[in-house]
Amino acid sequence: MTIWDRLFNIDRRWIFLLMGVVTVVPFFFKMGLPVITTEEVEGIYNHVDSLDHDNAVMIGFDYQPGTMAENQPMSEAVMRHCFARKIPVFITAFWPLGNGLAEQAITTLTDPAKPGTFQRVRYNEWREYDYGDEELPDRVTHAELVELWERDHELREDAMGWVFEGVDYVLLGYAPLFHIVLLGMGRSITSQYPSDLYGNPTEDMPIVKRNKSAREVDMGLTVSGSSTVLSWLTYARESYGMPIAFGVTAVSATDYLVYIQSGQILGQMGGLRGAAEYEVMLERDDYAVEMGRAFMGMDVQSIVHVLIVILVVLGNIAYFAGGYHRKGRRLKAGR
């Protein structure tokens, strides 16, 4: 048995162990290598940055927990951008499991234990509050509500601002046959979602009163780990012209660049790198006080990529040096 035979017959669990160690150790040595932004992600960021409270964005949590490590930072980054710019956000989900991920994203962005988050006020809380002599306007805006609310409430010192459920966002959640739901929302949002995820009637909500159908939404971001993104393109963009942006896992990212070149989508965040780019821009423009998890993961990502390249090169050296490329010299299957 030559050294090459031995190398190829190594128990694969040693490779697993090496992989595990190389993924854990770099977390303790922060390199903070810069992440350079690309026009694919800038396309989304600049579009969102041009919107304000008179516009609206729809974010589709069209993924499941399996890919949340890649997708969740994307949703959170864009939602943070919207909250900071007071852009109303409609939140939907292609799959039922997306509901919980959307709830988690809102909870993370409004976590009082973390600096630079937002202070959330639930729908019933501000709706049923006694404002004294003041009448609550029917289509109350964020600024109007803040003025009324701050008479009796104080914003947390390290918070980035208020977020009112029903004004700044509404969690619509999952509905079956979502591509048809997208078509239906082009007529009216309440026809598809008479109530939000918590049973509050959507027709009473200022966010819905100000944006009655998806035609009035200025960007649809679909964050997904599968080809469901194409539903948004086919049923929202081609039906009523909603500008679309993709947030996709790295596995499918290379497939959808064609839609950027054709001008059908504003841009695309591909994998953890895409989310990290968005985080870099958020921090640059003071929409975030610190980098998010995607950026934090990029150092480790770098090191593991180097490991993978080394493994490929080593595997090939062993393959050729061991003469396995010659006919008759077969490689024994390892464990």
Partner: protein, 209 residues
């Protein structure tokens, strides 16, 4: 307290799944089966709470919107699938949902995935301000798309200067595309692992910020 217990439970299951890397074991199997039940059970709750109840049952039975009765009946016909003698009835809701969905899809897919894509392939090779690599890129897009399409076109034998040479160039383009996809697939899988390690080190052990 609630969160703390939750994080410990989550950490337990994370490690239980990783134990599979060493050897298959009962804890892994337990976790594997638990998710099947939980995910479908979770879906049941939301389909009832946010769809069937507010959009059908409440308006029909509480507000008396009789017009919704056909919707209820069509929906219930799905259940006939479980009874062999009447299972053909389940074709009705499927037919209603399916037929129109196909009709809705056709023109829109034609636009989004075919016409606009074909249009985007007919691009100028050179415009002022283009660097050499942009010119080369435009050429690659035009020739590459055409030749890759030729490669996928199996109705004609891949022979002669057009189909033969075209498909030979096409396969090289496809190989580069697959290479890029492989690179991204590696990146994606590692990102998922990074996500779990971040959970273990940050939320569970608090050893990093």
């Amino acid at each position: 307290m609630y969160d703390q217990i939750g994080i410990w439970v989550a950490a337990f299951f994370t490690l239980a799944i990783y134990s599979f890397l060493y050897k298959e074991n009962p804890v892994y199997r337990f976790a594997e089966h638990a998710v099947v039940g939980i995910s479908l059970g979770y879906s049941m709750v939301y389909v009832y709470n946010t769809v069937l109840e507010p959009r059908l049952l409440e308006p029909l039975f509480v507000r008396g919107q009789i017009a919704l009765l056909p919707v209820l009946l069509l929906g219930l016909l799905y259940i006939t699938r479980f009874f062999r003698s009447v299972s053909w009835l389940s074709r009705y809701p499927i037919a209603v949902v399916f037929g129109m969905a196909m009709g809705l899809s056709f023109p829109r897919t034609m636009l989004s995935m075919v016409l606009r894509q074909a249009e985007a392939t007919v691009i100028p090779i050179y415009q002022s301000g283009y660097a050499w690599h942009d010119v080369l890129g435009s050429l690659v897009i035009i020739i590459g798309t055409l030749t890759a399409l030729i490669y996928f076109f199996f109705s004609k034998p891949h022979k002669g200067w057009f189909f033969g040479t075209g498909s030979r160039i096409g396969i090289w383009i496809i190989m580069i595309a697959f290479g890029a996809t492989f690179g991204f697939t590696v990146m994606g899988r590692i990102s998922l692992l990074i996500g779990r390690v971040q959970f273990l080190l940050t939320d569970w052990l608090h050893v990093i910020q």
